[in-house]
């Protein structure tokens, strides 16, 4: 375990039936994501959609508004099928 940050404060679901404290503790004990939070892979993955948007908009002077519209439609189609 290389991760040494302080464990998050856990808040049981608002409005839920009162949770068993022992079960809650077991489920969330030492629950931390793997390290490398700022790696490039995660950065590109998590910002992929706004980066695509920015690229398509900023590229309009190069390829024209109609290509931007076509690429936007293609993006919507692909994400709708596979997202």
């Amino acid at each position: 375990m290389t991760r040494t940050e302080k464990a998050p404060r856990l808040v049981p679901s608002i409005g839920a039936a009162p949770a068993d404290p022992a079960a809650l503790a077991r489920l969330t004990h030492n629950l931390m994501a793997p390290p490398r939070p700022l790696c490039l892979h995660a950065f590109v993955g998590r910002s992929l959609f706004p980066l695509i948007t920015l690229l398509l908009i900023a590229g309009t002077p190069l390829w024209g508004a109609w290509v931007t519209l076509a690429l936007a439609t293609l993006t919507w189609t692909l994400v709708g099928r596979h997202g």
Partner: protein, 362 residues
Amino acid sequence: MPVPPTPRPFLLRAFTRAEDVHCVVFHLVVLLGYATAFWLYLHPAQAGLHSAWDKAAFALGAGSLLGWVSGIDVGVNFHNHTHRRLFHSPRLNRWFGRVWTFSGGWPSYFWHHAHVRVHHANVMEANDWTLPRRGADGRFENIWRYCALHWPWRYAIHLARDFRSRRGGRHVKRRSLKELAIFAALYSIPFWIDLEMALCLWVLPHFVANCVTMGSGMYVQHAGCAPRSSGLRYQHSNTFLSRFFNLTMFNIGYHLEHHEFPGVHWADLPALHARMRQIYAAEGGRVVPYGYYKAARIVSSLTDADGGYQRFTHGDLLPVFQRPAMKLAPATEPRVAARLPQPPSEAAEAVEPQAAARGKTG
């Protein structure tokens, strides 16, 4: 003996979790997208927008893309902030929230109220007005109807009613008026620059963000589910396991886990899911192998709306989770809790093959 925290770079010290830098980067890229689109629209010669048709094509293409990412920016990204604040400073949290949601057509306080006080506190119950209306059989209204009518019309009516009746505390009414004024000041900026641009590249994207992205997302998160009050403890939300979807959408697909433990950080939800799989296998948790986008495409089928809804709510559930749900009386809860996996997470992963085998034979 507790391990001392690792020193973090200066710029990250303001954050409660280092992963949240990605949330801020996401929002800044969205704002940069808006700024770029505005600049191009106001400089048609440089942008190659020579005719009114070119401008219309650009507005449609850029507006739909900006709406898509704005919907994620508020519905997923700011959503994470409402449950677990990004920064240590309360003032920074409050102001960053305000600057976060105005580019999605929302005052941050209003969205927080609708999501936390209404949706999370009453998920799938009758007074959760954020969700689609349900028929006598519990089935959601048509997704097209929900997306067309919910934002801003139903939201405005319900929010006004809640704030007038001081739902959430006696300061709610005054706070809502203050936040509305701040939102109006921020939201009006593009209108002061150019009215036509504001309609095409500000209002249109917010329509897409709320009616298409967030509306369809809210729909599929809970379609086919049942409230806790029905006795079905773990069937109030759907979980979506597409890896690509969860990578690009801040793990929002782990929705059942999120509603069970809203205080768990979004980066930790996959680990929580691994620990909860045994419960799902026993209690009939609802899990599908894809993401919201594909789910929304299935339920919004124009040619076979009923078939699409049936496929999503029943046909596509992963086999291990298809076992008939048990009705749990409150008294049985400790017994179920006693079967929960023990840490570390390897224990939870080890039981998965057994659970899968039980699912096949059961």
